[in-house]
């Protein structure tokens, strides 16, 4: 009886996958043009770790030729979701959507006691959607750093023995600001000088709690170039992690909440400063395309979403006050480059900083393997790719590496730590270096 129920459930998941993704997988002509772009194909060297292999496996699973759980789970879970393959594909196969559909189908299984799943669920369902809880996490982390407990833990190597992943992440945590400095939701921050544009700022859940300093600096930079900045109340997590982990329902609910929160604000642009969040805001249009009640609003919302680098570049030049000395390089955030298609603006902004020596890094467009929470879930695979990246980074002799996404920034810090280079290479968010050059702190 139970077996029958399970297999019914599995059949439904397969049917759903077929309905959602089979046509997309059929677009793939198996030319392999995406292979050289894929970091996991390079590091693992097997076709099942390549985009072409994965797309074909999703197709076979949708046709019922292979088993969703037994055969598809691993190849899909090992994908970084960086979507470099999409940029490389000459026929425009929408890999991101195929991946999400596959994750949904895999996640759509009868409840299991798998630990990893529990941990993911815990964070996704109970943490990220709730700003208050995330704030608490941020405050807790700050307390932890300030109290000196963190030094003790670091020295004792305790955490490393418990979990190498958490240990690395712990070291990579940025210095956290006191919650008192955090700008409250619902506030309107006037521009400095004449107002040229009214923008609404998307704070993002991780950015807001762990990296609130970057959010504050983002807002200050925006006001410097003449933006009036609104922080809509009731905004929530963008839903990227949910989409990527196959929790489409929750992702849609979060999208609607954000659309509602932002569209009342009458802003020209919705600015975000995390490549991953920005990408998911841009994709609300597709996410809600079949929802006749919401599709129009979603389309408007997506059209208005811009990355911070685009706005600063558009309204620039920035009023720099000092020089920045040192060699600086830029690591593209995959979702900024491959989904939002933004790549020149951050570079132009960096090159404009007085005194800077800008160097391009080999493989700048290759994922650093932070991949949302990939580095937590697949530590070894992630570190293998990251260590390669560190070799490229060292080649540039850069003293600062810039990213536009918190995950990437932390991942670069982890790489620098692993490499023992922490005292001569820094990992900064684009906003931090620009703010510094404008005399903000």
């Amino acid at each position: 009886m139970k077996a029958a129920a399970t297999s019914n459930h599995a059949n439904r998941a397969v049917e759903q996958l077929h309905a959602n993704a089979h046509d997309w997988t059929n677009q793939c002509v198996k030319c392999g043009y995406c292979l050289p772009a894929c970091p996991t194909y390079e590091s693992m060297g097997v076709e099942s770790a390549s985009p072409r292999g994965r797309i074909n496996l999703v197709k076979l699973a949708a046709e019922g030729k292979i088993d969703l759980q037994k055969d598809l789970t691993e190849p899909i879970e090992l994908c970084l979701g960086c979507r470099a393959c999409e940029t490389a594909c000459p026929v425009g196969v929408p890999y991101g959507h195929i991946l999400e559909a596959a994750k949904e189908a895999i996640g759509n299984r009868p409840p299991s006691s798998d630990n990893m799943t529990k941990m993911k669920k815990l964070a996704l369902v109970h943490l990220f959607p709730y700003p208050r809880r995330m704030n608490l996490l941020g405050s807790g982390a700050m307390l932890y750093q300030k109290s000196g407990l963190s030094n003790l833990v670091r020295q004792s190597n305790l955490l490393y023995r418990v979990s190498p992943v958490l240990a690395h992440l712990e070291q990579a945590l940025p210095a956290i600001e006191s919650p008192a400095k955090r700008i409250r939701a619902g506030t309107l921050i006037p521009s400095k000088g004449a107002t040229r544009m009214r923008v609404a700022f998307f704070t993002g859940c991780i950015m807001d709690s762990l990296m609130s300093r970057i959010n504050r600096l983002t807002i200050e930079l925006l006001t410097l170039v003449g933006c009036e900045v609104i922080l809509p109340e009731n905004q929530s997590c963008c839903g990227a992690l949910h989409s990527h982990q196959g929790e489409a329902k929750q992702a849609k609910a979060l999208a609607k909440r954000n659309i509602q929160a932002f569209m009342q604000m009458d802003a020209e642009v919705i600015v975000s400063n995390a490549g991953g969040c920005g990408a998911s805001l841009r994709e609300y249009e597709q996410l809600l395309a079949d929802d006749c009640e919401w599709s129009g609003a979603a389309k408007d919302f997506s059209k208005k979403s811009k990355d911070i680098s685009q706005i600063l570049h558009q309204l620039g030049p920035l009023p720099f006050t000092g020089e920045y000395h040192g060699i600086v390089t830029f690591q593209d955030s995959c979702h900024l480059r491959n989904v939002q298609k933004v790549q020149t603006e951050p570079r132009l902004l960096l090159q404009a900083i007085p005194g800077i020596t800008y160097v391009e890094m080999a493989g700048f467009d290759r994922c650093c393997a932070s991949g949302g929470i990939y580095n937590l879930l697949h530590f070894e695979e992630s570190m293998k790719i990251l260590d390669e990246k560190m070799n490229d980074l060292k080649e540039t002799r850069a003293t600062t590496v810039i990213t536009v996404n918190p995950g990437c920034q932390m991942q670069m810090s982890i790489g620098i730590q692993r490499d023992g280079a922490a005292n001569h290479i820094k990992s900064l968010h684009l906003v931090e270096i620009l703010a510094k050059a404008c005399g903000l702190n």
Binding site: V29, Y33, G45, E47, S48, N56
Partner: protein
């Protein structure tokens, strides 16, 4: 797979380079052509010795062996049609040595062709064969398919550059053919026999390839023609005027429309043909040549001629050609890519035949290609789920082959025979021609172990079968 065979394999290859699980086997069941065949096992060898032992073992147990590069073949070359083992050769990539003095490169077969282009370029040298898949395909795959691209017209195909090989024979011996000298007439030319043999006569484990001095500069121009026949005359006039362009590419009206629809870039929708011509060499010489080419086009009725003055303009001209592939796939999910080739004075005749075939079967048929060497790429865009249309496609493909051969041409200029064109071999070579080839295969591979099911048609197989 039987336990004792697995145990024996385990003696040769470590577990982590041997794949038996269904997902991984399915990942090696395809290439860029048609068909899906599940191998029993996938193995990633790392050197000639491992391959030699694997092949010997395969002979002992009569297991088919399928060598595979990046799986971009358009003719079914690496498909494991009879199951057995796929040897993924992409891990054989440790050697890429540029010998500047002898103007050679010594390479492992798994090296990606574009990497050779780049390394040669860094040494001030040039490796001309440039299939458009060169960022993905392995040099091993290029060698075994004797691949080429736009540069084939002036510089020839892959086989003109291979002068020595290390090969594991179908019975597992490791032999060397040719060497490092450009001239070599010692015995039969096994190097050339292996090149283009589509992995049926041996597994290449190392290759010595010739490099040439890098051309100093290049110039490009584009010409539009309202009448197809005029573009044909322009091509023959250019080639008989003593100029040998380094590329001479053609797009037909259906291509032009597809590209313009996909990336509007101001292409002439009424034109029946666009020619893109590039010359390379000494800056002064090519200046004169390009102007002469442009004049010839004008004399032959070109409605528009533009010589690129800057690198940017050059890229713009080429981008139209580059968009062809993505543009035509917007017209349908299935693309049947043919490469029938005719003597170049027959290009206008071949174009006419293609047009008739398109009208007769009412198919989406577009033509582009390397017009300078007669290598056309008729592409049929369809949907393989549409069974009725696929039947028509099968008939149309047969007619394309017939047309090419009647005009004195060949089934395939560069993509190879594989599984897709094997039924037509006799049409081009005659029964005795095919028998001679089969004899060679039998002499090399008495157990029919290496890449069986390719090049030669199965009994009773007379037509291409696209419906499975």
């Amino acid at each position: 797979m039987k336990k004792e065979i697995l145990a024996a394999l385990g003696q040769i290859i470590p577990q982590e380079r041997m794949f038996l699980d269904l997902a991984e086997r399915y990942c090696y069941s395809y290439d860029a052509s048609f068909g899906e065949y599940l191998p029993e096992i996938v193995i990633q060898p790392k050197n000639a010795k491992e391959i030699s032992e694997l092949v010997k073992m395969a002979n002992l147990h009569k297991i088919p062996v399928y060598p595979r590069g990046s799986g971009t073949s358009l003719s079914g070359g690496p498909l494991p049609v009879k199951g057995g083992m796929v040897l993924d050769l992409t891990l054989l990539r440790d050697k890429l040595f540029i010998d500047r003095e002898n103007m050679l490169a010594i390479v492992s077969p798994g090296v990606i062709t574009a990497t050779i282009h780049q390394k040669a370029d860094e040494a001030g040298l040039f490796y001309p064969p440039d299939p458009s898949s060169s960022n993905v395909a392995t040099i091993g795959g290029n060698l075994l398919e004797n691949s080429s691209g736009p540069k084939g017209l002036k510089y020839g195909t892959t086989k003109e550059y291979v002068i020595g090989l290390e090969v594991v024979t179908p019975t597992g011996e490791i032999i060397r053919t040719g060497g490092k000298t450009v001239k070599n007439v010692t015995g039969y030319d096994l190097t050339r026999l292996i090149v283009g043999s589509e992995g049926t006569l041996g597994i290449v484990t190392e290759a010595i390839i010739r490099l040439i001095p890098k051309p100093q500069s290049q110039k490009t121009f584009v010409a539009h023609f309202n009448h197809f026949i005029d573009s044909g005359h322009a091509i023959t006039s250019i080639l008989s005027s003593g100029i040998l362009p380094s590329a001479l590419e053609l797009m037909d009206n259906a291509c032009i429309r597809a590209v313009e629809n996909y990336r509007p870039s101001g292409l002439p929708l009424q034109a029946e043909a666009i020619l893109i011509i590039e010359v390379d060499g000494h800056p002064l010489a090519i200046e004169e040549e390009i102007n002469k080419c442009a004049d010839i086009c004008k004399d032959n009725g070109a409605s528009y001629v533009k010589i690129a003055e800057t690198e940017e303009e050059r890229q713009t001209i080429w981008s139209a050609r580059k968009w062809v592939s993505p543009a035509i796939t917007q017209m349908g999910p299935t693309k049947i890519s043919e490469d029938a080739t005719v003597p170049r004075n027959q290009i206008p005749a071949m174009m006419e035949r293609l047009q008739q075939i398109r009208d007769k079967y009412e198919l989406n048929l577009v033509v582009f290609g390397h017009a300078g060497d007669g290598n056309l790429h008729p592409n049929i865009i369809t949907d393989k789920r549409n069974k009725a249309e696929m039947k028509k496609v099968e008939l149309a493909v047969s007619e394309i082959f017939e047309a090419a051969i009647e005009l004195g041409g060949t089934l395939s200029g560069e993509h190879g025979i594989g599984t897709l064109k094997s039924p037509y071999m006799e049409m081009e070579l005659g029964a005795n021609g095919v028998i001679m080839m089969k004899k060679i295969k039998e002499a090399w591979d008495p157990n029919n172990i290496l890449n069986p099911g390719k090049i030669f048609a199965e009994k009773g197989q007379t037509k291409v079968v696209l419906l499975t």
